[in-house]
Amino acid sequence: MMATVRVQPPAKTPGLAISDSRQLMFGKCPNPVTCGFDLVIGNGTVFPEINFTLPQMTIEQTTWRNVTDHYREIGEAIVSTARRLRIPGIVVEFELLPPMTENPAWGAEVTRILSDRLRRGYEEDGLHSALRVTPVDIRDIVRPPNLRSGKEWDLMRRSFDQCARAGAHILSIESVGGKEVHDEALMYGDIAGIVFALGVLAPRDMEFLWRNILRTCREYGIVAGGDSACGFANTAMQLASQSLLPEVIAAIDRGASAVRSLVAVECGAIGPSKDCAYEGPILKAITGIPISMEGKSASCAHFSPVGNIAGAMCDLWSNESVQNIRLLSGSAPEAFLELLAYDCRLYNNALNTGRADVYRAMLVESDVRINVQALVLSPESTVRIADAIVSTTGHYRKTVAAALECCTVICEALEAKQLELSRSEMLWLKRTEESLQSLPENEDSFIASMMSAYGHLIDPSSYGL
């Protein structure tokens, strides 16, 4: 059965698809997506998105049989758990590991195994489902990274193509254009360098990359899901969790990173966005696409300060990733799918009994006052950052506007005693806001100054500079 794709095009209004924060609700979005085996995402029901990876082993010709056994086992466990818990619908994400993109046929073979098992689940148990496939962005294997040509780029395109042919329903990627500058700027807490990476370099690569991905999606009639700022904002979140960076930097980076992720939608992606894209709510507010989010359910992949609030506006609820190892009950993917399924029963009960507003308020209030990264993730902050982005033009200015709006939101919360920050965090907030305010209005002069500081790290032609 060919995957049917009924697509409502993203609202083309200049403003926001959702301008009232009370409408930014889990399970509902202006532009629901139908894909895979008759799964309708964002149309009144929150579904689990189960994500899994290999245990401690290498991926080589000699271990490939063992690798495919793991994915067959996981496919079986997912469908039987869905049957046991009467899960109505599910997105299964297969995040390729590097060798599976370097050998496109390997990634395609696993895609086929999972897609066929879901087809059988649909035909035998009536399980609605869709398979999201996320090839690896291997272009930064060479430094400075060669993003628009070369062996890696070619392998990546073939990986997208062969996975699409092998039965993927949704394509996504955690792209790394601009990361070579962002990593450096992040370590020095240099907001100008961060803006150069997120507002100048990344959008240019995203446009090049996602035009290609859309071509593949149209060719095979499958959905272009979206990108994730994992290499940017999640790195910042991890550094903050290791107390290597102030949390305000991670919060500002999160808001600013929405602009580069938005480019995927501008190129034709229709969601669901990637689970580790915590900037998802901002994309949903601007374009109305359904989004996948992760929080406490992803404690198996990394810890986070936004365990509950991250779910306040989700259309899919994910566990980010967990190895196929045995716990006392069964495999870890089975255990985390049970967790996701019960969380989703609460979302859907709230939606079906008019309690959605109350439940969303509980999810937000439980985290928002405890952590600055949770503050910028609240529905209210989300709409304000989204509004700042659409109220200016050009990815550079939009990125600066988003970052500044984050600073304003944080300052207001501090004044209203709704948030507390340490002395050093306050110092970094002030220093960062001042740097942002002193950035040039004109993009070209900004690029010139950044090239002197960071130019040695990039290959300009990879960004069309």
Binding site: T53, T58, I59, I141, G189, W428
Partner: protein, 226 residues
Amino acid sequence: MADLQELSDALCSGYVDRVKHITKELLENGTPSGTILKEGFIAGMDIVGARMSKHEMYLPDVLQSARAMKGAMEILQPYLKESGVKATGTVVLGTVKGDMHDIGKTIVGIMLQGAGMEVIDLGVNVPPEAFIEAIRKHSPQLVGFSALLTTTMLWMKKTIDAITTAELRDKVKIMIGGAPTSQRFADEIGADGYAHDAGGAVITARELIAGLKGTEVSSHIPKVAK
């Protein structure tokens, strides 16, 4: 006349020019370059490392201090060479084959430099042969592996085996790190040390290098409960 204490304080505050100025002054007054390195630079960076481990100092401030030290080292280097003072140790560092996660490894490299070690960073996706070549070329006391994927961790084991086959194993100490690794994993694959974060990496690196040279470890960084 500024003394070693002021040098170390200036270093902690990351004042690049002031650190260069004091270094020149101390050299002019005949303070031995080795003393300036040990009781000025390394002592200062040890305080920075301790503050970082107690979460009292963020990475940008730490890197600012590292930048200040790097700047002044350019002044001190010729004097050190002249008086035969070698770097406390040479470290070859890299993210193993198939893995491109690098920021964690990069931070560890910077902190080791701050502890007065010479760091050769081989980058990402580093195959065993490249590590072996670097060992032969730089004859480091220490080799550091980083990995963040469960499917690349075992390349740490393969690289150790390759180093053993190349009869270089007893020439170097091997230290590992990265989110999916642990002390238990280090023991399993026959590595000499593991550290959970950059602060721990400096402590472990010092112990391993000292162990190799049989000298006592002198460092001001309190042992952080792993």
